[in-house]
């Protein structure tokens, strides 16, 4: 009988611009029995820079390409299914999360048709409205893994890039998801994941003038949610407010989490010879 092997433990770091840096502050905290990076406002700043830099390529990629990459995320997640179960998640939740990636992957090349369209204006004009990504989206993520996937996937499938503030007490699945994303052909910077205390980092994200939208769904403290929404008004971010009742992540997601981060652009052109 051999001695028990000494395990190689993982250091749970941030995910910014496709890389896994420690917090620039050098801080970490204990969560889920592990040392986890405690992101600072400067990590928020770096993540916004990375997310902004990724907008052009990601929003400019074809919808087909984005759909394939999201589907690839599902494939990678399926392959690491046991790893997530090993983090204490139920197999059912992991399966639902995988299926959610697949569901959103399919929306990449359909949302434009469903949410846009031709407008029959009273004149000799071609007139078409089409949705476009708003840009950089800040997401305060819920603690549930299915919830995490359910806020990230709709934000990025349409071409936005995201900064995800992982729930303070449930960071491991988020960091592990980052490992999945990093191996799924998703360009660096499209999703950036910051672990730590959202109560500390979210105000910086909400007030950041180069962020276009913010999702407060998972902010359960009403006073914090209000102050974040007030800060978001500084550059008129699109805001998804916390719902009145806790969200049921297993329910049909509908379109609203995609349309919340879409702008409608309407193009006119004369018809003539």
């Amino acid at each position: 009988m051999s001695e028990a092997r000494v395990a190689v433990r993982k250091t749970y770091k941030l995910f910014i611009g496709g890389k896994f840096p420690r917090s620039e502050s050098g801080r970490s905290y204990i969560a889920q029995d592990a040392n986890v990076a405690l992101a600072s406002r400067k990590d928020v700043r770096d993540a916004v820079v990375a997310a902004r830099a990724a907008v052009k390529g990601w929003s400019g990629a074809t919808a087909y390409n984005r759909g394939q990459i999201l589907y690839r995320v599902a494939e990678m997640l399926e392959g690491r299914r046991d790893q997530f179960v090993g983090l204490g998640l139920s197999a059912g939740e992991v399966d639902e999360a995988i299926d959610r990636w697949v569901w959103y992957a399919g929306w990449s090349d359909k949302i434009t048709q469903v949410y846009g369209g031709a407008n029959p204006v009273a004149g000799p004009y071609f007139n078409l409205s089409a949705p476009e990504p708003t840009g950089v989206v800040g997401l305060a993520a819920p603690p549930s893994f299915l919830g995490l996937v359910s806020v990230i996937a709709p934000a990025i499938v349409t071409g936005n890039t995201a900064i995800v503030l992982a729930a303070k007490d449930a960071p491991l699945a988020a960091v592990t998801l980052a490992e999945v994303l990093a191996t799924s052909d998703l360009p660096g910077g499209v999703v950036n994941i910051l672990t730590g205390d959202p109560a500390e980092t979210a105000p910086w994200l909400a007030a950041h003038m180069d962020v276009n939208a913010i999702d407060l769904t998972a902010v359960t403290d009403p006073a914090l949610a209000t102050s974040l929404e007030e800060a978001a008004a500084g550059n008129l971010k699109r805001v998804l407010r916390p719902p009145l009742t806790a969200p049921d992540w297993s329910a049909d997601p509908g379109l609203t989490r995609m349309t919340a981060y879409l702008e409608t652009k309407t193009v006119w052109h004369p018809k003539g010879i």
């Binding site: 004149g123 000799p124 004009y125 004369p270 018809k271 003539g272 010879i273």
Partner: protein, 327 residues
Amino acid sequence: MALGSTRTLVRMTATTASDLSSVTSSDAALRAFLHGLPGVDQVGAEQRAAMLGTRSIKTTAKAWAIDLAIRMVDLTTLEGADTPGKVRALCAKARRPDPADPTCPPVAAICVYPAMVPVAVEALAGSGIHTASVATAFPSGQAPLEVKLADTRAAVAAGADEIDMVINRGAFLSGRYLEVFEEIAAVKQACGDAHLKVILETGELATYDNVRRASWIGMLAGGDFIKTSTGKVPVAATLPVTLVMLEAVRDFRDLTGRQVGVKPAGGIRTTKDAVKYLVLVNETAGDDWLDPDWFRFGASTLLNDLLMQRTKLTTGVYSGPDYFTLD
């Protein structure tokens, strides 16, 4: 301003002032020049013309415009049934459009077929009214060049001092721009001292881009006027076509210093129509073109409506057709 925009328009059209003559040196050069002219957006041009059509011209402005419009009329008869008697009657009307009112000005010209030129010249002697003759196998132009030139020379020899020629639309539409140009230049030469009006027959040119290009060919070839229509095809003068032609003569003068006139013809029947054209001239080419030397109406029934409106302005009551001559 003329000098500045000359320099810049030249750049716009991918050539330079010194080689403007070279743009007609070959079919390729002329094509490159014409296709380098700024395009015309149909919807935008029509909206501009329609907007100008909403100008409200009342009282003193209307009176001024009516007298100017009368002075700009090329009183026209171009029928197979034309006779010397008919032409003489028309000439009498040209001299004194409103026999009851000596303050009413004469028209600019009489416009007839070549065979009727001698009659018109005699009837108009001493009046200062011009005699215009259509020529070049009007209205289709489907005759050999020699015939067209002979047609022109005959009209001039008979006393016409203005020649209204038709361009070769077939050559134009098939892209043989130089052929169109050379034909106009040859007719211009045949005209001698007579003024040449180049009829583009815009109703057959299909697009405003073509109207602009044809306008430039006519001007480059030496035309003194560019004219919309023969009146013999379904679509004659329209406001937007005239707008595009006015832009062309404006730009041509900026570029070359030479002023070319514009003549919408056909379909202009009411005072209201005529005033819209004058507004178009005023706000596109400007004041310099608001003169019978530079703008004409090719029309026949228009004159009586102008006279009725003129009478309304002076008497305050609406007139009726019975009070004006039918010639």
